[in-house]
């Protein structure tokens, strides 16, 4: 099902003095949630806007299901997008905002009420956006994206302004979408959020691709084997672990790389060293991210 596949090839955007996106290529598969990660100013928003035909690439292409966005016959029924937090006329009601889009996409007014129900805004539907909280605006943005029941969802920092309950709700919506075989691309700087949500990640820094892969694969790779040990006798333990690479942390803490927990335990027991803690360290996406983007993460 290459139907909702997003393909970015050699995408480049040169603003006056800054190369915001630099020869970027990646693909986003349907049926999975893909996190789009990068430090601030990495070019995430510019990339998403180029995919959506809002920003003109200097060179390169971005296609959705094989078509450039502006060539899509029914854009809102193909792609739903949530970009900035508030792109609403403050004096218009939430429902009327959606009806304007329904008109443009040739969708029945019924769809506006359905998505308002879906995002939990039905009660505020006839109120002006002026009175909406940030979280409500974010929900309205998501409602607009879902309006055409699209095959592809593209969201730029959708968790901004949502409370924890809202974030959990959104996570479920996006996971449900991917499970129905659709494409979901979510940019975020909240790494923990993406780790819980995404199957794949695309990591960029300074406008360039750093890594693309499955979350499990990337975290597994970096995690390798890291063990955290506390002992009142760190010097003796370091000696007992000779050969393994180990680092002294603060006070009684040691980080061991290249050995698993049983190996460290056996070494300690053999040398008669008392242990206060022995844990396998899970590398989270944050480690991966920092490790991969260091050097490319300077503010531009």
């Amino acid at each position: 099902m290459s139907d909702g596949q997003i393909v970015v090839r050699g995408l480049t955007k040169q603003f006056r003095t800054v190369r915001a996106v630099d020869d970027l290529s990646f693909t986003v598969a349907p049926g999975r949630v893909t996190g789009f990660l990068g430090p601030n100013g990495a070019g995430k928003t510019t990339t998403l806007r180029m995919i959506l035909g809002l920003v003109r690439p200097t060179s390169g292409t971005a296609t959705i299901g094989g078509q450039v966005y502006s060539d899509l016959a029914e854009p809102l029924r193909t792609v739903g997008a949530v970009l900035e937090a508030s792109s609403f006329h403050r004096g218009r009601t939430g429902r009327n905002h959606l009806l304007v889009l329904c008109d443009a996409a040739g969708l029945p007014a019924r769809r506006a009420d359905e998505v308002l129900d879906l995002v939990g805004l039905a009660a505020a539907a006839r109120r002006k956006v002026r009175g909406y909280s940030l979280g409500m605006k974010q929900r309205l943005g998501i409602a607009a994206a879902l309006l055409g029941d699209p095959r592809v969802l593209i969201l730029d920092e959708p968790a901004n302004g949502l409370d924890p309950e809202g974030i959990r709700w959104m996570r479920e919506v996006l996971r449900g979408y991917a499970q129905r075989g659709r494409t979901v691309l979510v940019s975020s700087h909240l790494l923990a959020e993406v780790q819980h949500l995404a199957d794949d990640v695309v990591i960029i820094a300074a406008g360039r691709l750093v890594r693309q892969g499955a979350v499990a694969e990337l975290t597994g790779e970096i995690a390798a084997r890291r063990v955290r040990v506390r002992t009142p006798d760190p010097d003796r333990l370091l000696a007992a672990l000779n050969g393994a690479s180990a680092q002294r942390g603060e006070a009684d803490l040691i980080h061991v790389t290249g050995l698993d927990t049983p190996a460290v335990f056996r070494a300690a027991v053999a040398a008669g060293i008392e242990l206060h803690e022995l844990t396998h360290e899970h590398a989270d996406l944050e480690h991966v991210f920092l490790e991969l983007t260091s050097g490319g993460a300077e503010i531009r």
């Binding site: 806007r49 809002l54 792609v79 006329h89 004096g91 009601t93 304007v100 008109d103 443009a104």
Partner: protein
């Protein structure tokens, strides 16, 4: 295209903008109608012209012709029936500007262009809806002015002059002026995306710019002794608009069609440049 028109129409209909503008236009129309009625009353009862003897004969003839022209019923009736035009056109210009700049001000341009990625279509939709809105505003004021004017003229004991071609022509040109200024407004809004800047520049150009431009042109004409240059004042949009709609041809003025041609020229140029810019711009 029908979808787009409905969408653009709903954008205007679902904010306060339409009734704010309607009220403003009706208010100014009522005001100018009152002033025009007072003026018409004095012109229709004007005494014969007394000119001092030292005026050169050709100039005197022109003043006399002008004086008589203003005193005719047709000119006054046309003026009454198109009351409020000066401010009506300004408001249409502003509405056209807001319809475009609102999209950037409220960042709705993003959703608009996501729904309709062909930006030329979006501009075309806005132009069409604005022309319709301008025609609507014009019809609303015209109907009210014709009713009030007819009552006034019968009270003056004058004929209504509604069948006169000059009056019909003034009404039609009024309609055309509204439509062209709407196009002009949309073009202007696409040229200057910053809402506040666009509105201020437009008001300044409309109210003051024309007098300054005509003053400069006339000054050049006097200094260079090239009187024909004064005819160039018609190149200033609001002067062209006035020339185009001056009820009947007053002697000494450039022809109406020239005013219309200049104004249409400006509308096409503004809309064309605005569309080109909108196509190339990055939205974000």
């Amino acid at each position: 295209m029908i979808r787009l028109l409905r969408s653009e129409f709903r954008k205007i209909a679902t904010t306060n903008i339409w009734w704010a503008f309607l009220l403003a236009v009706l208010g100014f129309t009522a005001l100018t109608f009152a002033i025009n009625a007072l003026q018409a009353h004095s012109y229709l009862h004007q005494p014969p012209l007394q000119l001092p003897a030292n005026i050169p004969p050709d100039q005197a003839a022109q003043i006399r012709a002008d004086y008589q022209a203003r005193g005719t019923l047709v000119v006054q009736a046309a003026n009454l029936y198109t009351s409020g035009q000066y401010f009506g056109l300004l408001f249409v210009l502003l509405l056209g500007i807001l319809v475009v700049t609102n999209e950037y001000f409220h960042q709705t341009a993003t959703t608009t262009f996501l729904a309709t990625p062909r930006r030329t279509m979006v501009i075309a939709g806005k132009l069409s809806v604005m022309v319709l809105a301008a025609v609507g505003l014009c019809l609303a004021t015209t109907v009210l002015c014709v009713i009030a004017g007819a009552i006034f003229l019968s009270a003056e004991g004058a004929s209504l002059a509604l069948g006169e071609w000059a009056v019909t022509r003034a009404l039609l040109l009024n309609l055309l002026a509204y439509a062209i200024w709407a196009v002009f407004g949309v073009g202007f809004g696409t040229l200057i995306r910053n809402q506040l800047a666009a509105v201020i520049v437009a008001i300044a150009l409309y109210l003051v710019g024309s007098s300054i431009a005509s003053a400069i042109i006339q000054l050049i004409a006097i200094v260079t002794h090239a009187i024909w240059l004064t005819k160039l004042t018609v190149a200033v949009p609001s002067v062209a608009s006035q020339v185009m709609i001056t009820g009947a041809d007053l002697p000494g003025n450039p022809p109406q069609w020239l005013g219309a041609a200049v104004l249409i020229g400006y509308g096409v140029v503004a809309g064309g440049i605005g569309t080109l810019l909108t196509q190339r711009r990055d939205i974000g």
